[in-house]
Symmetry: C2
Subunit: 485 residues, 2 copies
């Protein structure tokens, strides 16, 4: 620590009179023994029991929000320190919303995580789970050339909640990971935006051939689920409202094509599907039925041999279990998700729960699999928070101590309906409880208003609610922002 | 174009009734001959004369804003499609302001550039200037693995304005480019923010040694000019207000050190300097007088051998001529900038002007060099816009046709004073016209208020004015955003 002594002698003594700096410098002299592969050991009797949450999506964050931090310490392990408000992510790609408004820091969702002495957020990935010893193995997330080597460490848990989500499915199609962009994280939206604006500007450079211009400005979306449809709608809004005005030279070259193997919005009421199809076509989105066979750098190839040149390719064909979920030695549900029982517990092991897209009911429950929706994840997170609090109050919070606790009501999922925006101030609202059921279906401006209002009250913090409202208002008044930063 | 015919046959004919898609598809059949190395040739008699502006900083953007687009077509060549409002850039690193609020798209500053048929923005770098033939050589900017090869093209000009700015000086110190981050572009601010938040989270991972924790959270700023001081002030505000609350576990480890070879804020009044020194020290910034000798991955080495470990290193020691400026075969001013006369013309060549940080008066003018300040650049841009409009009205707009035009008043720079914020709601305002002069000097909250008000009225568009005000208000109410996206 010799540099510190040097440093202090370098302070310009004529101008610095405060003694405060010496206080702060003294902190530098504390040094303990190295402990490279350390971690958090089992909780002691004088500590609160520890809930370890893997993941920071809808399920994990809703759970952490509901946990009683007077009963438990909370440790979250995730490669990102915020939750992504996924339903509004498509709007950020074209500048309708700021990226930041759809990202909610975990420390705002559960403040204890950054203030309580026994609660932590670790920017890390889970690499393995030792269910017998109640230990999670982790590796810190680093990035860039200057980043330090990843650290390996372990965290002991009293209760473990696996909420690691899912990963995009590619059906083994070659080239998807290399050339397509998914739409699940904020950095995906940033990449789409940068690419779109780059292509708009590239196509205006003198000497670019007509055919290359067409390619650069051809935006292809694969997958006609709500995400693909909402993104296509936002894109066509952006083209109609902003590109025509701000990129007048190339406005006639930009096109959006949505490719879907079956029907778009297949979970929606047939009349809503019809409405969406008409509406998207009207606003210039070309709907193509086709199956993608191969993805190359500048074109995709469909099953029947059709070649589709593209400048921007967004892939949104649903999700499946991720590598870490597949690798875990835990009971599985049909389809490869982690198996859970009616109380969201993982059978055959103690104190492990799983919620959200990474989990599914084991066959023995006789329950139908739940869709991979934010709605399901959120409801499960809420349920499990209440359940864990109840277990904690009944003195079942410690590892291996909940065997005699009455878990009470099972988790029951009631579908509240689906919504999707389709651009041009129009949206779909389907309030049927299942695909075959009857119920209210709405389409048009009123639905769009309901869609906006619903999301505005759901964006978690007041800060972000406020920003989303402000963003929407400024987009209306000033148009979308087109700076490429 | 066979894929297009295929595509149209793939539309789900039961659901698509609009004929509009055929209209849009027909656009794809237009195809012209390839013209890879084409460009914009000399303007014809029926066209407006063309002003080509290289760069999109304060000087270039202020000029474009003032150009009369009834007289001229405007072509801007720059590697970024927006102007950066540099005085507020430091605030974006710690989340006080959004990145987007300090970036103003050029198409908003001069709308003609995206709407007039003869006006363009090219995302490109200038690689050479052929003054004899009135031609600029350019290369398009691309990035990423999937980006197309850069395109080379030429643009003929009637009037050329070189406003390429300057680049950070490193005094040839080894390792600065590799390990330090500058603070001149929005992506610099983004990099600083990501690194700062990564280090905050890394330092909380179990098993990190105390010494490593100290290093990770040691933020070092080299250079005590306004940028370095403002960034240090923002950082200490962030630490006091947000880190203490949101990163409670590591709050005692984070420190800011400002290293300056001479005096901080050397252009300011001595009492203001004294005030700033006291204020920064009080808010925990350690001021160190020292000369950096070498920069390594995790530490810097000072001239006297002192080693200073750091987790984040921001380099802000002023600017000098960039490589392209040095390579241009044009008259130079002392110090290597492009030489200009009293009317901001480059002598010995026709129709070339230069403004902003890249230019300086040639020795024969007998004028003292102007500082590399936004203020100077903006005033020069404004002056040159008026001058070019005047030349155009006097029929001197075409290449080689302004020889007989009376250029009128010379450019005279009157310094309006300097401002710098130093954190904790305090700022300095120095209204003296030069270093030796007398005049009003203010420090404290009132100055801070003046500082905010002044910038709020200067952020160019109403959209961004509005956003800056909203950002400041929300930071006050909710604190800074800490999501790392």
């Amino acid at each position: 620590m010799s540099w510190l002594r040097h440093l202090s002698s370098k302070f310009s003594s004529t101008t610095i009179t405060s003694t405060r700096r010496f206080t702060s410098l003294s902190r530098f002299s504390t040094s303990t023994a190295p402990a490279r592969h350390a971690g958090l050991g089992p909780t002691q009797a004088h500590e609160k029991p520890r809930v370890v949450v893997l993941g920071s999506g809808w399920a994990g964050c809703r759970l952490m929000k509901g946990l009683d931090t007077a009963i438990y310490d909370v440790v979250c392990v995730s490669p990102r320190n915020h939750m992504v408000f996924t339903p509004l992510l498509a709007s950020t790609c074209v500048g309708t919303l700021e990226f930041r408004t759809v990202a909610e820091p975990i420390a705002r969702i559960q403040p204890a995580i950054s203030t309580e002495p026994g609660s932590y957020f670790f920017l890390a990935n889970c690499t393995a789970i030792d269910a017998d010893n109640h230990v999670v193995h982790c590796e810190s997330v680093t990035e860039g050339a200057q980043a330090p080597d990843p650290w390996r460490f372990t965290v002991s848990y009293d209760k473990l909640v696996i909420a690691l989500g899912a990963q995009p499915t590619t059906f083994g199609i070659h080239g998807v990971y290399e050339h397509a962009i998914f739409l699940r994280e904020v950095y995906h939206a940033q990449e789409i935006r940068r690419k779109l604006l780059l292509n708009l500007m590239m196509s205006d450079v003198p000497g670019i051939e007509e055919e290359e211009k067409q390619r650069l400005l051809h935006c292809v979306v694969v997958g006609g689920g709500p995400t693909g449809v909402e993104f296509s709608g936002e894109l066509s809004d952006f083209i109609v409202r902003d590109v025509r005005q701000r990129y007048a030279h190339v406005k006639d070259y930009i096109h959006v094509t949505l490719i879907e193997a079956n029907e778009i919005l297949s979970s929606f009421d047939v009349r809503l599907r019809q409405y969406a199809t008409n509406q998207l076509t009207k606003s210039g989105v070309r709907l193509v039925r086709g199956i993608v066979k191969d993805v190359e750098e500048k074109k995709i190839i469909l099953n029947d041999g059709t070649e589709v040149p593209y400048g921007l390719l967004v892939w949104s064909t649903g999700v499946g279990p991720s590598a870490i979920i597949r690798s875990l030695d835990l009971p599985k549900a049909p389809g490869g998700r982690i198996g859970i029982d009616e109380w969201l517990r993982v059978p055959t092991v103690e104190d492990i729960f799983s919620i959200g897209d990474c989990s599914g009911f084991v066959e023995s429950t006789g329950k139908t699999p739940l869709p991979a929706l934010a709605q399901v994840a959120e409801r499960q997170g809420k349920y499990l928070g209440i359940l864990l609090n109840k277990i904690g109050k009944a003195n079942g919070g410690r590892a291996n101590s909940a065997k005699d606790v009455d878990f009470g009501d099972q988790f029951v999922y009631k579908h509240m309906g689906s919504m999707a925006s389709i651009g041009s101030y129009k949206a779909l609202v389907d309030l049927r409880q299942n695909k075959e059921g009857k119920g209210l279906s709405l389409a048009g401006f009123v639905s769009w208003f309901i869609w906006r209002s619903a999301y505005l009250t759901r964006v978690i913090s007041w800060r972000n609610r406020f920003y989303v409202a402000i963003n929407w208002a400024t987009t209306l008044v000033f148009g979308r922002d087109i700076s490429r930063i």
